[in-house]
Symmetry: C2
Subunit: 388 residues, 2 copies
């Protein structure tokens, strides 16, 4: 499972004393090559954490040999001293592996505004280096958990027409734009396919655009989100872009659904699909507006198929549609036709965790799905009591 | 108090059987002139209720002689039949007063997607007409309450340099962009100043821009919001624009603060003031982004001065600022300087209902305040159990 499934990767996870629980809190993933092609995407937030400031520089040349990740502290809004901590961790990893610090991505997650203890991080790096193993993915996936209830891992086997097998592995933590508790989404993806950095970049942006970017649990954007793809080329297989990109979308989609299922405090996973939109952008804008309606999300928590709140959210967008001719279905029941009541809302059973909302804009042939969670007492509780 | 304080107005409120409680649920405010100058602003939502569709046409000529309002049903997403109900109510009022239906603004509030019983509304109009009184403002203010705990009323006395006294009265219900439960904000303002329709319009837009438009309790935009200003000219006093506009800002500000104080489920009123912004738009954008952060709002509910969530929200805007040089104070304690921890957050006492957040963007000399409420268990409860 996880990031060590593809050939050419070692990983490990140790307890560095960052988490008060004493659990695993530092992970290292190393690409042993022969290739070290890479691509990354980061949070769009302008106020970003020190590891993101560092890693954005590291990834520019398309070469990454290692990713070091810690939970127990986000190293965000901690100033120049915090940046030096990130730098020191990268140097420690580089020294241990005999590589350059400029090839080491650093990711941190946990509370923001608190300084990470540098000595713990450096000792953790020393401790994880001798434990790096081709079966270490499981430990690494556990070491990046914060408030996650389960670790998130994925493996997708690649099929290449021209022969040769390859695979993609991945691990994720937290919630990203799902963001309960502003928990950062950290994702490391690995592959032994022989793909260059430009292919990695194109495929990664294609995949995140339709997966992680369409998770919107509470509209809050993290300061630390990082998704990094490492390609070792160790399988020798050279998939086409379509083959590789398709597999990467499946891997990211699977991890995104695991994040959605584990979103803290959530009772429901809500898939909002907007159909017959004039453009994909319109469909995403409409879906996102509904996903960000506290009123609608609270209604789903209360098992109330309140389609009026869906229409009220749609009306705040500038997507193309006729306000008098919108159709809305919940769990397949068309409770609203032509912006007026249609089938009986009592037919909508919201007792299951999974809920679908379908919005027909009647304005074109584009569609998109945005995923969110409901707004629950547990969400308020966990986010009102987090740092105190 | 209220809308009948200025000379030239009568009002009344009756129980028309729209509310299951049997309480007052239909109000009528009549301008007896001599002038019937008027101005209105409506929700920016594109999916609007039938009374808003009707009233937008009515107000176009700047002449309004009566406003009829009902609670107990929003008449929203109810199709052509719902529009005919609104039209019939306006006609009934017009017939009773001997005026044209095209001079009657109609406002409705309550659940959306449900048809209002037309016969109750028409009987209610017949019942309120003989009760219209120059002391009827109090009843009218009560008849438009839905989930409001108290009625909202205001009187501002006008001082005119050139002599002559005049005043502004007002009543409000609900929550507008505050929108707990998508409760509509309905506001009727009256004045006996002699001001023409163009002056009314300019003054009303000036006032709502810095008051009601900067309330943002939960980011949800109602389908029925209506603010109407009626000027009778009965005092004969002709204030300057500055005099009238200043008084109208005070009246709207007072009503807005009453709405904020009564926002359902709220434990805190949060005033977010952004200073040293490059523009007022930037200051509003930054304030609104913080006001819409569920994470920040839940933290305030938990009495947690979580300034990291403030910075993370600021970072989602495109306002002018240096992400590494932001200052944030909560209740006057500068917990963040230059985007790093400063004064001890433990010094911030969040036990009081009123909370101030000050954000220094260091990018100019503009400022603005946005008001919001915290995100509480009660908010989730009330909005998950509303229509069921």
């Amino acid at each position: 499972m996880s990031v060590t499934h593809p050939a050419g990767f070692r990983a490990g996870g140790v307890a560095a004393g960052l988490k008060s629980s004493g659990g695993l809190d530092l992970a290292l993933v190393v690409n042993d090559g022969p290739s070290s092609a890479s691509a990354s995407v980061f949070t769009a937030n302008r106020c970003i954490a020190n590891p993101v400031i560092w890693s954005k520089e590291v990834v520019k040349d398309g070469v990454v040999r290692a990713v070091v990740l810690n939970s127990g502290g986000a190293n965000c809004y901690t100033g120049p001293d915090g940046f030096q901590t990130t730098h020191a961790v990268a140097e420690q990893v580089a020294q241990g592996l005999g590589i350059g610090a400029g090839d080491v991505v650093v990711c941190s997650t946990g509370l923001i505004g608190l300084t990470n203890p540098r000595e713990n991080l450096l000792a953790g790096v020393d401790s994880v280096l001798p434990r790096l193993d081709a079966d270490g993915g499981e430990d690494a996936a556990h070491a990046i958990m914060t408030t996650d209830h389960v670790s998130k891992q994925v493996v997708v086997e690649g099929a290449t027409n021209t022969g040769g097998s390859w695979s993609i592995g991945g691990m994720a933590k937290g919630a990203g734009m799902l963001a309960p508790q502003l928990a950062t989404m950290l994702v490391v993806l690995t592959t032994d396919a022989d793909v260059d950095a430009a292919t990695c970049d194109h495929a990664l942006r294609t995949a995140t655009r339709v997966t992680f970017d369409r998770l919107d649990s509470d509209g809050c954007m993290s300061t630390n989100d990082t998704v990094t793809l490492l390609a070792s080329g160790a399988s020798g297989a050279k998939p086409s872009f379509e083959e590789f990109s398709g597999a990467l979308v499946r891997a990211c989609s699977e991890l995104a659904m695991q994040l959605l299922a584990d979103a803290e405090g959530s009772d429901h996973e809500i898939a909002i699909t907007t159909v017959n939109a004039a453009s994909e952008d319109d469909a995403v804008a409409v879906g996102r507006s509904v996903a960000r309606s506290n009123l609608f999300k609270a209604a789903v928590f209360g098992k109330d198929p309140n389609w009026g709140r869906v229409l009220a959210s749609i009306g705040t967008t500038d997507a193309a549609f006729d306000p008098g001719d919108l159709d809305v279905a919940m769990n397949g029941v068309w409770v609203c036709r032509a912006s007026t009541p249609a089938e009986d809302p009592a037919l909508v059973d919201l007792s299951d965790r999974r809920v679908t909302v379908t919005i027909d804009l009647k304005a074109g042939d584009a569609l998109a799905t945005v995923w969110t969670n409901d707004l629950t007492h547990a969400y308020v509780h966990e986010n009102s009591a987090y740092s105190s």
